[in-house]
């Protein structure tokens, strides 16, 4: 299993505040890797750096063996890096269908319509509401739309930022079930979550982020039974 995404010594600043203090993370082809940590630990910053929408002050990011550290964000999507962002960020006034179609903005040809069908099969509620403005969807439906939109780019690695945030427990379970299904279909996933228990339970490997640094990394199961993780994140 080759390494798909490799991050080395990554640092990033918001003005004078350092959000990331030298992060090393790798994601292998076909893996489901979880990154857990408290609010403000730098999880979203890391994902935004990977997508190229937040400036990096040091370190490197390589994708499929190629250095993409200086590559503009919009040029990373065609390489296969696609993100479902924190807070869903759907195009509120535009229809569900337009949102999905824009997910495939970088693609051309008839396969787009086929993928759209696949998304509707995976999330039937989106098909029912395809002509409605995305902003009228419930939180859970918007989350499904955000994930489906990211998948429409046919990513080689799917970045998921807090997919369970603000959702009712039943919906959280549904979203995580979707993530497992995607993984089983062979999608490489880098999952960022505050919900450490649910994320580590389905992950092959996990990283724990604290105030901008990776403090622990191990297999998902090992992290789940790690005393420090239990105490700090699982409330056990």
């Amino acid at each position: 299993m080759g390494t798909l995404l490799e991050i080395k010594g990554l640092t990033s600043h918001y003005g004078r505040i350092q959000a990331l203090k030298g992060i090393d993370v790798t994601v292998g082809e076909g893996e489901l890797v979880a990154l857990v940590g408290a609010n403000g630990a730098g999880k979203t910053s890391l994902l935004r750096c990977i997508s190229g929408v937040q400036p990096i002050s040091g370190g490197t990011i390589s994708f499929d063996g190629k250095d993409i550290t200086g590559l503009a964000g919009e040029k990373r999507v065609p390489l296969g890096i696609s993100q479902s962002p924190e807070g869903r960020q759907v195009f509120g006034p535009m229809s569900v269908e337009d949102n999905l179609r824009l997910g495939a903005y970088i693609r051309k040809g008839p396969t787009i319509a086929e993928d759209m069908q696949r998304m509707y099969e995976m999330f039937p509620i989106l098909y029912k509401k395809r002509e409605l403005p995305a902003g009228t969807l419930s939180g859970g439906q918007q989350q499904m739309l955000a994930i489906a939109r990211a998948l429409m780019a046919r990513p080689r690695v799917l970045l998921l930022d807090e997919p369970s945030m603000g959702l009712a427990p039943l919906l959280v379970e549904e979203i995580f079930q979707t993530i497992v299904t995607l993984k089983q279909a062979g999608t490489t996933i880098f999952l960022v979550e505050q919900n450490a228990y649910a994320a580590l339970a389905i992950a092959d490997r996990g990283y724990v982020l604290e105030t901008g640094s990776v403090v622990l990394s191990d297999s998902g199961q090992a992290l789940l039974s790690n005393e420090k993780v239990k105490e700090a994140y699982l409330g056990l």
Binding site: E74, R76, V90, F91, P93, L102, Y105, I106, A150
Partner: protein, 291 residues
């Protein structure tokens, strides 16, 4: 009575159509960047001045018009590349001030390149007025209505039926998400300036046979287009069109029934009224977000 009213209405609709095009120009740039481009009026002036002087120099009219549109778009692109883009990390207010500076610069340059005289363009299909229910309508006014309608339909098609148009809309709704699906927001910004400049130029060209133009004609047209955009709700394309027609008709009626001295004041009274009593305009979105 009715004939006079109809006469005012025709003249109001004619200038209203131009304000609508200018208002759409404001809306497109505002949507792409949240910047209000106070050089929008200068695009109108450049369209009018360039076509008028080219025709006067003996260039056939269709070619002159095409060239004037290209020149105006080139100016719009240059404005974005050399004045707006280098300041992309600055405050929106700073960028707005840059556009005011750019508009002063363009007026100065127009004085040097052309002159301070008024210029005109021959009417596209003659000057024989058409009698309508006791009022008269100039054929050029029909050109203004027709061209404005075609431009509006084309814009609607662009923003609702083409992928790049949808990407521009998507960027205005959520810039981060647009970047994450691979939309190049720099390209969107550049396109918004080119498109707004084109709209301004088209308006300036079709109206020049009626109103004439000179190096500072853009000030008033720009400000009235701005009133149109504010009245309709900043960033709302349909609103800008309705706003433009209302401003045009209101000022034509005011100058007809009150005094022509008040003509230019009307647009500003409308701006003040909107800002005091309905800051979101007629169709603007409310300033609230679901979190």
């Amino acid at each position: 009575m009715f004939a006079a009213f109809l006469q005012y209405l025709f003249s109001g609709l004619t200038s209203g159509a131009i304000y609508a095009l200018a208002g759409l120009g404001f809306a497109i740039i505002y949507n792409a960047s949240h910047v209000i481009n106070f050089a929008q009026g200068e695009f109108i002036m450049i369209g009018g001045m360039a076509s008028a002087t080219l025709v006067a120099a003996g260039v056939p009219m269709p070619l002159a018009i095409t060239l004037a549109m290209i020149i105006s778009m080139a100016v719009g692109v240059a404005l974005e590349k050399f004045a707006i883009e280098p300041a992309r990390n600055a405050d929106v207010v700073t960028i707005i001030i840059i556009t005011i500076g750019a508009s002063i610069f363009m007026r100065g340059a127009a004085q040097i390149i052309w002159d301070k005289e008024f210029h005109s363009l021959p009417a596209f299909s003659g000057e024989i007025p058409i009698a309508v229910l006791g009022a008269t309508l100039m054929p050029q006014s029909l050109w203004v209505f027709g061209v404005a309608a075609v431009v509006i339909v084309a814009l609607w098609w662009f923003f609702n039926r083409t992928m790049f148009g949808k990407a521009m809309l998507a960027t205005s709704h959520n810039r981060l998400a647009a970047q994450l699906v691979g939309v190049g927001v720099k390209k969107v910004l550049l396109a918004s300036f080119a498109l707004s400049a084109l709209l301004g130029a088209v308006g300036g060209i079709v109206v020049t046979p009626i109103t004439f133009t000179n190096y500072e004609a853009g000030i008033m047209l720009g400000l009235k287009g701005f009133s149109a955009a504010v009245l309709g709700g900043l960033g709302n394309g349909g609103g800008a069109i309705v706003g433009g027609l209302i401003v045009g008709i209101a000022e034509a009626l005011a100058s007809g029934y009150l005094s022509s001295a008040y003509k230019d004041a009307i647009a500003f009274v409308i701006i003040l009224f909107v800002l005091f009593f309905m800051p979101n305009g007629l169709f603007g979105k409310r300033g609230t977000d679901r979190v």
